[in-house]
């Protein structure tokens, strides 16, 4: 028979739309509107998984986000979803789900025997046993345990779905669309405020969707429908369902929520995002996140068929699926009687109510008695039986101190045990915002402590369980939140009349022993485990042990026993675990502390968090005007690029079949013997002007500025206030109060921003304007002995002779008919012209230069050749020779520093430590083996010895094979390096070898500088 536990009528499912699905390899049917859990219950399937550590059979405990047991694996590669909560998975046609933690299937799990070994595996067992030998752990135990424990499988292939983010500003955001949230949203929205109401469920209504109350004399769902209808007509209201608030951020102003868009659709055509991450920034936030019913910790409380009382009622009333035929209710409060009464009315036979209170009373108790339900007062469930499903429970009388039990034992046959140990308000988001919770003896739960600037909390999340009161307070909160945001006068309409349930009269029963009194130390019968955290198989005995071993802080206990970890983050175990620990210490629940709660509230897939920022959209890629030319150049598919900051720069241009080494050697030779051409457009460029620009630059640069005449260029050093070099570049004086500055490619944005900081915060009196012109000027560096010969015919109006256009000057004029600024600066040591033209003319200039130059041997080169050429000359590269702890003096550039006037870094450099004679300074290294390239960063030692730590003299900063020098060259920072010139030092290599090196001057090419004028 199909769906034998499905009621003939009732519930919010569509019986005209049957759906087929597969669970654990077997086919079933359900209806549209079901969750996977409700469909399984309708089919009488309760065994849905195995537990994490002991592989015990587990069933569905809850009907919502708090579910610890019913985790399933969904879908097929590449859309595998691990550890989905069956209680929140919308049933779709063709859904394939598998249980986790079992093999080959949930009934015949080969590791089920682990449960018998439970007494041998107390808390800390893994730490104590398997970590005794690191080697055994890594190679034997860890792989075995990981395979046995498992949980779900993650997909191996890239996620084919797209995800998106959306930002929205609201006046009021209400989290949770149960009765309180709906009421608060209505009250706020009626003022005209922009309201967002979000809920994790498939429709608003929350607990009202699965109960039998009336509001203003009508069924509760009618009130919900009217509320939805009213909200839908208000243009400024956004209602999001299947949207889980993951966290509350930014001083409680921003709710970050995941909206699941397509998982509930059988087919969505493969387009559109799978999920959307909402950033809801709001003037006021109202939390109406409800409460989770608390399980009771008693021996063998984990069998399939043991369910939270409210969940059982939800399955029957909302989904029309009966979770059993004969039930027992084990409760500490009267509210749970309502579930038993409702379930009995739907055809379930209530065999007994086991009430821990010795003297329960109230309307629902009377009602239950009137229905002929037997109530065992002052009793507790002390054991359960049944292999794959509950078959009976054992009850005993609680002793007056509740710590032990008394005979006689009584067995009751049943297939459903509903439990209710009270309610735990859901205050996760409140705690994300910095709010505190404390034990509330009246509510018997941890409720939010109100505080300034914290979100409003309404409904059972605030401990307001009585529906009429919750609605009234929520309406007020909604109106007041709107008023705070500037809407309405704060007055709210009156709440609907409600058939009220019993007040939250109950008692605390934190733990049930199954042993007759022996001083309260009894743990239980052998093998009878009392689970606190079902997902992690953490028991009350584990918490006892944590306490015995001195772990009395709840955070320590959590990490030792795993209570509160996992995909459910302890939603049903946190309070029980904390109070059991407090009691072990000898305190009451008021002394218990809850572990920190952090986002996300329920797991979010990484794709949602990444949103659109994946693949090519992960980061900005900057390209120069010549990128297409670089790509096309050469027969082998163009340049090989490398990222430099956000820029993509050509590293080298291989000809067909050429290796990198050969291409770089060819490019280097050309630049030294004929001419080389480099796209230097990525160089940072700043236009600085204003009446006070000279004063400003004098303060910024460690090198002199004021004495620079118009038309000339100077090398400049930039230090921070600590005296360390952070950037270098050139300053060209265009006019009296107008400069063209260059920075390194990687530091361009930082340097400009840093200059602005000084200008705006420390020296606002200086009249200076700084403008980035990096992407206004394309720069081609033409360098080599034939540079003048190549450029001359293209710049007929420009006298390029040494006399007319000397080194370190700049000229304006036309190059290839393009207006240009030409700078005679050189990063290669060769005769060099850096030609700046408007960005879009870069390609035209490149083509013109190559047309003239190629016959003369002009060869384009990339950054790798640039590095070799500058290292041959001993020119430093900021970020390569420097690391934030290197001063200009360390680099041999001390002679360039201003001695008289102040500049940023002057005072820093004067610090005593920076004067030490044994500071690491820049030197060259000559390797004994002419072909031994030294890995950058290699340490340098005097000699290998047994001293530990081995004294280090410095490190290699650059090392290349120089085709022109004909051997490997290297730059290094070495302690007291100038005094070590000629010394032989050693560089330990990764393979254990030692490279012998001789300390030399850091200039390997043209030390006299004869080549710079051509």
């Amino acid at each position: 028979m199909e769906q034998p536990f499905r009621l003939k009528a009732g519930g919010r499912i569509d019986r005209t739309r049957p759906l087929r699905f597969v669970f654990d390899g077997k086919g079933y049917s359900g209806y549209a509107g079901d969750t996977l859990a409700s469909a399984l219950i309708a089919n009488g399937v309760h065994l849905v998984g195995r537990s994490f550590k002991y592989h015990r059979p587990r069933g569905i405990l809850s009907a919502g986000a708090e579910e610890p047991n019913a985790l399933v694996q969904l879908g097929l590669e590449p859309r595998l979803v691990p550890n989905a909560r069956a209680t929140q998975v919308d049933l779709i046609h063709g859904l394939e789900a598998d249980p986790v933690n079992c093999w080959p299937n949930v009934r015949r799990d080969v590791l089920a025997g682990l449960g018998l070994a439970a007494p041998l595996m107390p808390a800390g067992f893994y730490y104590k046993t398997f970590l005794a030998s690191r080697h055994l752990w890594r190679h034997v135990f860890e792989p075995l345990i990981r395979r046995a424990a498992g949980w779900g499988r993650v997909p191996e292939d890239p996620d084919p779905d797209v995800y998106t983010h959306r930002h929205l500003h609201r006046d009021v955001v209400v989290v949770g669309a149960g009765p309180a949230g709906l009421a608060a949203a209505l009250a706020a929205a009626r003022t005209g405020a922009r309201v967002a109401l979000i809920d994790e469920g498939t429709e608003p209504g929350g607990s009202l969707l699965g109960q039998t109350r009336t509001l203003d004399g009508h069924p509760a769902d009618q009130w919900v429908a009217e509320g939805r209808e009213e909200l839908s007509h208000l243009p400024e209201v956004l209602v999001l369902t299947r949207t889980t608030a993951a966290g509350l951020y930014d001083d409680g102003t921003t709710v970050v929520a995941e909206e699941r868009l397509t998982d509930h659709l059988t087919s969505h055509g493969g387009h559109g995002p799978r999920a959307r991450l909402w950033w809801l920034t709001s003037k006021t936030v109202i939390l109406a996140t409800g409460a989770h019913e608390r399980p009771i910790v008693f021996p063998e409380n984990d069998r399939p068929g043991i369910m939270l009382a409210s969940a059982a009622r939800t399955y029957a009333l909302r989904y029309g699926a009966l979770p059993g035929k004969r039930m027992v209710l084990f409760t500490t409060n009267s509210a749970a009687y309502e579930s038993a009464i409702d379930l009995q009315s739907r055809g379930l036979r209530v065999e007994a109510i086991v009430d821990a209170r010795p003297d329960p009373s109230g309307p629902h108790v009377d009602m239950a008695e009137a229905l002929g339900i037997h109530i065992h007062k002052g009793c507790a469930v002390t054991a359960t039986d049944g292999r794959h499903h509950l078959e009976s429970v054992e009850i005993m009388l609680l002793s007056p101190d509740l710590r032990t039990v008394q005979a006689p034992r009584k067995l009751i046959e049943c297939d459903l045990l509903c439990v209710s140990g009270g309610w735990s308000p859901v205050a996760h988001l409140y705690r994300h915002a910095g709010g505190q919770v404390e034990w509330n003896a009246e509510v018997r739960g941890f409720t939010p402590v109100p505080g300034p600037g914290l979100p409003r909390v309404v409904g059972s999340a605030a401990g307001t369980h009585a529906l009429s009161q919750a609605l009234e307070r929520a309406l007020t909160a909604g109106a007041e939140a709107a008023r705070e945001a500037g809407f309405g006068d704060g007055s709210a309409s009156s709440a609907p009349r409600v058939t009220e349930t019993d007040a939250l009269d109950g008692m605390d029963l934190w733990r049930v022993s199954d042993q007759p009194g022996d001083g309260g130390r009894a743990i239980g019968r052998p093998g009878h485990l009392s689970f606190v955290d079902l997902q992690n198989d953490a028991t009350a005995a584990d918490i006892d042990q944590a306490h015995r071993e001195g772990l009395t802080n709840v955070e320590h206990m959590k990490r030792y026993t795993l209570t509160g970890f996992g995909t459910d983050q302890g939603k049903t175990s946190q309070v029980n675990g904390a109070v059991i620990l407090a009691r072990a210490v000898g305190e009451g629940p008021e002394a218990a502390r809850l572990t920190a709660q952090r986002p996300p509230y329920t797991p979010i897939t990484f794709g949602t968090l990444a949103g659109r920022r994946v693949g090519g959209l992960l980061d900005t890629v900057r390209e120069t005007a010549l990128q297409d030319i670089h790509r096309d150049l050469g027969k082998n598919g163009g340049a090989v690029f490398e990222p430099v900051g956000q820029w993509l720069r050509p590293r080298f241009y291989p000809k067909a079949g050429e290796t990198m080494d050969r291409a770089v050697a060819r490019e280097c030779r050309a630049a030294r013997q004929e001419a080389g051409l480099l796209d230097a457009s990525t160089l940072g460029k700043i236009d600085a002007q204003g009446p006070d620009v000279v004063e400003f630059l004098e303060r910024i640069y460690a090198t002199p500025v004021a004495s620079l005449p118009i038309g000339k260029v100077r090398y400049g050093l930039v230090c921070k206030d600590d005296g360390m070099l952070v950037d270098d570049g050139t300053l060209a004086r265009l006019e009296e109060t107008h400069f063209h500055l260059t920075t390194t490619t990687g530091n361009a944005a930082w340097t400009l921003n840093w200059m602005e900081e000084w200008l705006q915060t420390e020296w606002p009196d200086l009249r200076v304007r700084l403008t980035s012109v990096t992407e206004q000027w394309a720069v081609l560096a033409l360098s080599g002995p034939k540079a003048r010969e190549i450029l001359a015919p293209l710049a007929p109006g420009m006298d390029l002779s040494v006399e007319a256009f000397p080194f370190m000057t700049w000229r304006a004029g036309a190059v290839a008919g393009i207006p240009a600024r030409v700078f005679r600066v050189s990063f290669t040591g060769e005769l060099s012209f850096e030609i700046n033209v408007p960005w879009r003319y870069g390609p035209a200039l490149w083509k013109a230069l190559l047309a003239k130059g190629a016959p003369l041997g002009l060869t384009p080169h990339g950054t790798e050749t640039m590095h070799v050429l500058r290292a041959e000359k001993g020119f430093i590269l900021v970020g390569q020779e420097t690391d934030g702890s290197v001063t200009p003096r360390d680099l041999g550039l001390g002679g360039m520093l201003k001695t008289k006037r102040d500049f940023i870094g002057k005072r820093g450099m004067a610090r005593s430590d920076l004067q030490r004679p044994d500071r690491k300074v820049l030197v060259g290294l000559r390797t004994d083996d002419p072909a031994q390239v030294l890995p950058e960063g290699s340490p340098i030692v005097e000699a290998m010895s047994s001293a530990r730590p081995l004294p280090m003299l410095g490190h290699v900063t650059s090392s290349y094979l120089s085709p022109m020098v004909g051997r490997v060259i290297a730059l290094a920072l070495v302690k007291g390096g100038r005094e070590r010139l000629g010394q032989t030092l050693q560089v330990p290599l990764e393979d254990g070898d030692l490279a012998k090196v001789t300390v030399v001057e850091p200039v390997f090419w043209d030390p006299e500088g004869k080549r710079r004028d051509g």
């Binding site: 930002h167 951020y249 930014d250 001083d251 409680g252 102003t253 921003t254 950033w279 920034t281 910095g434 600037g453 206030d721 600590d722 921003n753 602005e756 900081e757 705006q760 915060t761 420390e762 102040d902 002057k906 005072r907 820093g908 610090r911 005593s912």
Partner: protein, 86 residues
């Protein structure tokens, strides 16, 4: 997303800004001894509570400004004034 009150552009999303750290008064360099200069360079008060700190509207108007933020709650306790209001 939290909004930062830019004195030039008004409240804008946090992502448009860059953080400039605690405001530390710069001592007069010449008379400052090494200890004073070292403290200026490296010692930060790292309070739990209100802190005077610099921000820059880096992806906007590039305006640097100072505001007071409670480091425990991220609440911004004052609004930097526009130049013309100062």
């Amino acid at each position: 997303m939290e909004r930062i009150p830019c004195p030039h552009c008004g409240p804008r999303p946090l992502a448009e800004f860059s953080y400039g750290g605690e405001v530390v008064p710069r001592p007069d360099p010449e008379p400052a001894d090494d200890a004073t200069w070292g403290a200026y360079l490296y010692v930060r008060s790292n309070p739990k509570g209100p802190q005077s700190e610099r921000w820059v509207h880096i992806h906007g108007c590039r305006r640097w400004f100072t505001l007071t933020r409670d480091t425990a709650t991220h609440r911004i306790l004052d609004t930097p004034l526009r130049k013309e209001e100062a």
